[in-house]
């Protein structure tokens, strides 16, 4: 972070990633012609390509930078972040993947409207998609500012600006179809950018006599090896709340869900998810290596609160000369790819919803065409969180992402679970549950973003709301649905047939 370090490799890396992203996006453009291409790549993406794209989109700044930094500072309990982000896909696979694809809807609000036949539920879902999308975009932009500051000593507003411009150009020119290729490329770039430096750093570590990171100084070795944080009742609560938020939140993230509509059928959706599990599993083996090595070679980073840049600084700290600079360039490229791909995916999801419910509406007697409305939606989706990220204070990349997971788990998870598996869900029940979950977790988010207090039970309960907000949203949905059981949609049975029967069986699907 000091200005005397060479900025060369960082600038080269960021430029190369940006150019490659734009080039692949432009190449994908020739396949993009219709509105369906824009939103869902016309639903013809094969499992392997789609899985790489999902992996590329999902591995955000929090995965690439945040996890290693958290591991360095807090130790083994932070392993629950990557474990939860991966296990979330297993939960999504067994409960949601195939039915969601078979529902045949473009976005989460589309699903809600098709299932419940209610404009009110649709409007509420649209608001929530935009809220979660913006909340998740915020740390991506902040991480980009942080990375460019560490790599080329740029002011923190440069990162958000560069990422927004690249994302906007790519998303608004080619939509989902071209972004699929970009995302798939970025998964492999991110994997390489962590894997190669990790191999070199491990070789250096072995050359130094392989000192054991768990016996050094810093937080007590036992604490660093415990998967429970501070231990005691609060440690247990925080850990389990994190598990609930990540295991159940993945299925409710708008940018994850929108990718499932690009599968050709329900069976392909399942197979895609299985490949995603494997891709994420391979990737998440790497951040712990950086966290552990950081404890030996970069222990002071944790002390000065610079743990988010551990992955970027470690190669320079461990390897001198040209090799160290090249490895730094590589991890910078990977980090930048992480911001670009996740932001693109979120921008697509939010723009899709905004273009259907806001920019596609009739204004003063004029109505934008499908593609023009999508582009206007993309601008809105990106510019708002970019401005907020420049204005708002930094609250930690992984922490904000964790809150987005908690909101998703408290709102869309109950809606999807009950909508897919329970015929008795009613529009009133869905609205009540979404409101309870959204307000509960939203209150916690607001409180966490404005205060810095982290001790005591109130701070613990509001800092990790999922363990109470998810069950209360689920219970509200069930109870209110039972109270309004007369308003169960007439087509619910037919819709269940559509969700659960394989496409090969010739049935009327409503």
């Amino acid at each position: 972070m000091s200005p005397d370090l060479s900025a060369g490799p960082g600038i080269v890396a960021v430029t190369l990633v940006t150019v490659a992203t734009l080039a692949i996006g432009t190449w994908g453009l020739r396949f993009s012609r219709t509105t369906s291409d824009f939103f869902v790549a016309s639903r013809t993406v094969r499992p392997r390509l789609n899985a790489s794209a999902i992996g590329g989109e999902y591995l955000s700044a929090a995965s690439f930078l945040g996890v290693a930094g958290l591991l360095l500072v807090f130790g083994a309990d932070m392993l629950w972040h990557p474990v939860g982000w991966t296990a979330g896909y297993l939960v999504l696979l067994v409960l949601v993947a195939a039915p969601l694809r078979r529902s045949g809807a473009y976005t989460l609000p589309d699903f809600a409207e098709a299932r419940l036949g209610s404009r009110g539920v649709r409007a509420l879902c649209s608001v929530l998609v935009v809220a979660i999308g913006w909340l998740y975009l915020l740390p991506q932009f902040q991480g980009a500012g942080l990375t460019l500051q560490a790599a080329i000593d740029a002011p923190t507003w440069v990162g958000p600006l560069v990422v927004s411009v690249v994302v906007l150009v790519n998303v608004s020119s080619g939509g989902m179809r071209s972004i699929t290729f970009v995302q798939a490329f970025q998964y492999w770039l991110k994997l390489t950018a962590l894997l190669l430096p990790a191999c070199v750093l491990l070789a250096v570590w072995v050359g130094d006599g392989a000192p054991n990171p768990t016996t050094g100084s810093g937080a007590g070795p036992d604490l660093w090896s415990s998967p429970l944080g501070e231990g005691g009742g609060q440690g247990l609560y925080v850990t389990y709340s994190l598990i609930v938020a990540t295991f159940l939140g993945t299925m409710g993230l708008p940018h994850v869900v929108v990718r499932f509509y690009t599968n050709p059928d329900g069976r392909a959706a399942r197979r895609t998810t299985l490949v995603v599990l494997a891709l994420l599993g391979v990737f998440y083996l790497l951040p712990p290596i950086y966290g552990a090595l950081g404890r030996i070679y970069a222990a002071d980073l944790a002390a000065v609160g610079g743990s988010d840049v551990l992955v970027l600084e470690l190669p320079r700290l461990m390897v001198d000369g040209l090799l160290g600079e090249m490895l730094t360039g590589l991890v910078t490229a990977g980090a930048f790819a992480a911001f670009l791909s996740t932001s693109s995916g979120l921008a697509i999801a939010v723009a899709g919803v905004l273009s259907q419910d806001v920019t596609g509406r009739r204004f003063a007697g004029r109505r934008l065409s499908g593609v023009a409305a999508f582009r206007a939606g993309a601008v809105l989706a990106v510019v708002v969180p970019a401005l907020v990220s420049i204005a708002a204070p930094d609250v930690g990349v992984a922490r904000t992402v964790g809150l987005a997971f908690a909101v998703a788990a408290s709102t869309f998870c109950p809606l999807l679970l009950l909508g897919i598996w329970w015929r008795g869900l009613t529009p009133a029940g869905a609205i009540a549950g979404l409101t309870v979950g959204g307000l509960g977790s939203g209150l916690a988010v607001g409180w966490t973003l404005v205060t810095s207090e982290t001790s005591g039970w109130v701070a613990t309960l509001l800092g990790q709301p999922a363990a109470w907000s998810v069950p209360s949203a689920l219970a509200t949905m069930v109870v209110v649905s039972r109270m309004t059981r007369d308003s169960v949609p007439l087509h619910a049975g037919r819709f269940m047939v559509r969700l659960h029967t394989p496409e090969a069986v010739d049935l009327q699907r409503g």
Binding site: V83, T214, S225, S226, L277, G281, L507
Partner: protein
């Protein structure tokens, strides 16, 4: 638009059609007809498919909870485990940093195989019934 060479006999006009894509209700397998008509039998078919798939999902999730999500509680009840090392690596790091990922893939693979088998059985059932 090509010109027909002079003297060649005019070929008879043939109407080319593809196979009928919308099969008539009569030709469709009886099981699907029951479901489409919303009869009690159709509801039973659908109910059994959904129950099988949901039970499978819940079994996989139960295994996930018992094998992975129980770890914080286990480490809470037996704090000594945090000090256990396997070849120098703390147990928690080995379990949560490495072993959990292949385990998640195995669970996912088992689920996909079983779920597809359920759907094949369902397709066979609605195809064969009352034949």
């Amino acid at each position: 638009m090509s010109e027909r060479p002079a003297g060649e006999p005019r070929a008879e006009r043939v109407r080319v059609t593809g196979p009928d894509r919308r099969r008539s209700t009569v030709a469709r397998p009886p099981g699907t007809r029951e479901i489409d008509a919303g009869t009690q039998l159709g509801a039973i078919y659908m109910g059994s498919l959904m129950r099988d798939q949901l039970l499978l999902a819940l079994r996989i999730l139960l295994v996930l909870v018992v094998s992975v999500a129980s770890l914080p509680l286990v480490f809470h009840l037996w704090p000594g485990l945090a000090g256990v090392r396997v070849v120098g690596v703390p147990l928690a790091w080995l379990l949560l940093g490495v072993l959990v990922y292949p385990w998640l893939i195995v669970l996912g693979w088992v689920y996909v195989r079983r779920a597809e088998a359920h759907e094949r059985d369902f397709a066979d059932l609605v195809d064969e019934v009352e034949r």
